[in-house]
């Protein structure tokens, strides 16, 4: 893993995956799936999430096959808002209004591309609330990840 002088990875080939409350079961699967696709494409992965979301990822990827760094959501927001960190691509996982807020914030703060990944029973309603220019990844799904995986595959073309 490449490190800069201050110990952080070089941001050029990094992706940020922003996780909210892991209330909907398919979130963790979708995160690991996208992270796996990113890693195959040579892109390093950074998770920003709530404590529970981070633990689900940490123990789901105990040897770090898919995730390079796991960080606190508030810490990442502070770093991005203060321009201490930047990411050329960012996936925001959304199943509630708070997720929409985080996606809009990331779109406003980052110069890179933001992909909203929208799921859960209210996915269509959440998707309608996203009014910035972006490519939405969306499926009305909560337990069975297949519809969301199919939606991810339609958008992510840069597989290795």
């Amino acid at each position: 893993m490449e490190k800069t002088e201050n110990g952080n990875m070089d941001n050029a080939d990094k992706a940020l995956l922003v996780l909210g409350c892991p209330q909907v079961p398919i979130q963790t699967t979708a995160v690991l799936y996208i992270a796996g696709r990113l890693k195959k494409a040579g892109i390093k992965t950074v998770i920003a999430g709530t404590p529970a979301a981070r633990l689900l990822i940490k123990y789901g990827d105990i040897d770090g096959h898919y995730i390079d760094e796991i960080k606190d959501l508030d810490v990442i927001i502070d770093a991005v808002a203060e321009k201490k960190e930047s990411y050329p691509r960012c996936f925001v996982f959304i199943h509630n209004d708070a997720g929409v807020s985080y996606a809009a914030t990331m779109n406003s703060l980052l110069d890179g591309v933001v992909y909203p990944v929208i799921f859960g029973s209210d996915a269509e309603k959440m998707a309608e609330m996203i009014d910035f220019d972006c490519e939405k990844i969306m499926a009305v799904a909560a337990h069975n990840p297949k519809p969301l995986i199919s939606a991810i595959n339609r958008v992510l073309k840069w597989d290795a």
Partner: protein, 93 residues
Amino acid sequence: MGCLDKLPYEIILRHTSFAECREYLKKNFRELYTVAPGYKIFDVHIIGVPPISLAIEGNTIIFPFTKPCHGTFLVSVEDEEEATRIRKENYKK
């Protein structure tokens, strides 16, 4: 986003949305400001869908606050120094 628990806050609206916050502020307060996502109030970067509205009444700041698991709240915090700073940094709507 920093922890709201560190601030002496009062909750005005619970489990609301940014659109509802905007409407509530517009209807109930006269001194309104618009800030960008990431704008810092106290030690908190504001999360939200732009344009993010906030209000000041006297020395009390009324602003939306998002928690990932609990959604958006409209809260108020009284602080003269912070109210003065926000007034200086932003144009009133």
